[in-house]
Symmetry: C2
Subunit: 342 residues, 2 copies
DNA sequence: CTGTTAGCGCATTCAA
DNA sequence: TTGAATGCGCTAACAG
């Protein structure tokens, strides 16, 4: 409630002096005044009017965190436990750095541009943005932008992206499956994971096959429906009358868990008859039985990296590299068995 | 980028006229000017400077959404799928109402007060706040505040709370268990759910017993540890050498699922030897086998109600009632069986 | 070391 | 129907 002016009056000094105290420019204030002003500032619980600061500096301390949502379904990534963790981690990092987080879901780039203009955003974190939209935003905004898990069309631009080593994830997973004797493997992307991400993972899978002198055809790569009933139908086709694959690799722990349960309910033993793998290593992987063999990634780390990179950009500090690729680790648990010899 | 002044210049009118157009005060502008100014506004992609608006009106269109976190563990409610859904729903409602969402986690009331003062918040939604903190905030803030799932000490104040019919949830659940012949039931709150909430549910459980002329002792009510190892130890004690209870009622689907899996791994049949129930009916309830008998609540609805109530307060509209109590529904699935006759 | 002053962009009152 | 003027609280450049 109290303004600098009012504080100044109470202290019997000028507003500038109070401002100097607030901003720690102690060299320009005598020790006594400093002490006195500080005491009053404290007593009056001075809180700066951010509107005035925004106006004067024409920039805010707000970081916009944009989740894209699918236009059709009115859902955001928040529904997913992995994304929630990322967002939770982002919130903490932003807060601890003394910034503020504005959370916004949209599927239109204009919304994002408007948000930046209206609020003079200090920076922008875009989560799971389709590549083409990412390009537009990147080009039309002057504030620092960091993407999370964005796969871009190669347009020569330098993007600041906090990515995952998706290719390696797919590779490790597939190599392991191959080592367990699996060759008839089906790979399932969920429509939520952006095509680019799934493609990278699939590329890794293909490389693992190639290293063994084998070929992995594109027909092994499928996209799972968002609709529960349709997924059940998919699982049914995969198991009746006889599983055409010895292993099912899902790019999401949740769907892997769902498939395991489907199998169990229909008398298909996992991993006896069919092996199943996931991706992310989230809470579902540890809950389901048999425990899921999956690819681990550190959700909190992803958020930290994104904010750290953004802050460096905001402060104009040099970056070691324009983008970061988080490591993945294969977690071998119990959902994969030896493939029966054909 | 463009300001009202610049728009005015291009249109050859005064800033006031432009402002009138922006605010739809069409009565004060001639049709031609209106059209001309609108066109320019559109062409220049005019976006108001929210800082200036904040300054001039001394209020922002920002709604603060505060999640409390446990001081010790650095976690927020975002880790939980149910809370994520609530927050996702809040985000959408805020956005669609033309407001902006500032997400903040803290465990200190001063943080909240400072946030309100700095950003001239239009309103505040507080999620899972401990009762005493809620009181402090409520008393020291003049902006509208809506709580979600807050249980207050009775201090005569009128709170705006979006609560759940926890008592009924506990009641229905227990009545069902009793009807299935269970009397030796243990109830587990998780430390995350605030004591008040758990107490309400437990009160419902007690009422169900009372209606049958039975008494439910406080020793049947336990708090589950946040630590995985300790929980495992709890489950062990509950099953070795012989389950002392015929039913375990958890106030959280996740822990119910965890317990079911523990039992299955240790040869205790669910629901054959011991029955298990959950609370919330979230994704875990549907994933685990046997499917969880649990108490359903509508996460998205909770968020909607909170924002709707807050908007009414902001706009000064009359409220039907100061607080709302969302309904719960018992979902009978397969995790409860008939209790063996003693 | 301290004070004065001119904006920042918008809302709003009052005058034309 | 339109315009001019003032103030919101702060920053920053400048003057003492």
């Amino acid at each position: 409630m109290a303004t600098i002016k009012q504080i100044a009056e109470k202290a019997g000094v000028s507003p500038t002096t109070v401002a100097n105290v607030i901003h720690g420019r102690t060299a320009r204030v005598s020790p006594e005044t400093l002490e006195k002003v500080r005491a009053i500032l404290d007593r009056e619980k001075y809180a700066p009017n951010m509107g005035a600061i925004m106006l004067a500096r024409s920039s805010s301390r707000i970081i916009g965190v944009i989740m894209f949502r699918e236009p059709r379904r009115n859902e955001t990534v928040l529904e997913d436990p992995f994304s929630s963790k990322v967002i939770g981690s982002i919130e903490r990092e932003i807060r601890e750095a003394g910034y503020y987080m504005m959370l916004h879901a949209t599927d239109h780039e204009e919304d994002v541009l408007r948000l930046v203009a209206k609020w003079k955003l200090a920076g922008l974190i875009l989560i799971w943005v389709p590549g083409e939209i990412a390009g537009i935003i990147r080009r039309s905004v002057e504030t620092p932008v960091v993407f999370i898990d964005c796969v871009f069309d190669e347009d020569g631009q330098e993007y600041h992206n906090v990515a995952l080593d998706d290719e390696k994830g797919g590779f490790e997973l597939t190599r392991y499956l191959l080592s367990m004797g699996h060759e008839r493997i089906a790979f399932f992307a969920d429509s939520a994971s952006w095509p680019g991400t799934a493609d990278l993972r699939f590329g890794g899978c293909r490389r693992a096959f190639a290293e063994e002198g084998k070929i992995l055809g594109n027909d092994r790569f499928m996209v799972l429906s968002k609709d529960f009933g349709e997924r059940q139908e998919t699982y049914r086709k995969l198991t009746v009358p006889e599983p055409p694959f010895t292993a099912l690799a899902f790019f999401s722990d949740y769907y892997a868990a769902e498939a395991i349960i489907y199998c169990q309910e229909h008398g298909i033993e996992v991993p006896g008859r069919v092996s199943v793998t996931g991706f992310d290593d989230n809470i579902f992987a540890r809950l389901v039985r048999p425990r899921l063999t999956t690819v681990y990634q550190d959700a909190a780390l992803r958020g930290q990296q994104a904010v750290a990179m953004l802050l460096a950009l905001i402060r104009g500090e040099p970056l070691e590299s324009p983008s970061v690729r988080s490591p993945v680790t294969l977690k071998v648990r119990e959902s994969v068995g030896k493939a029966a010899r054909d």
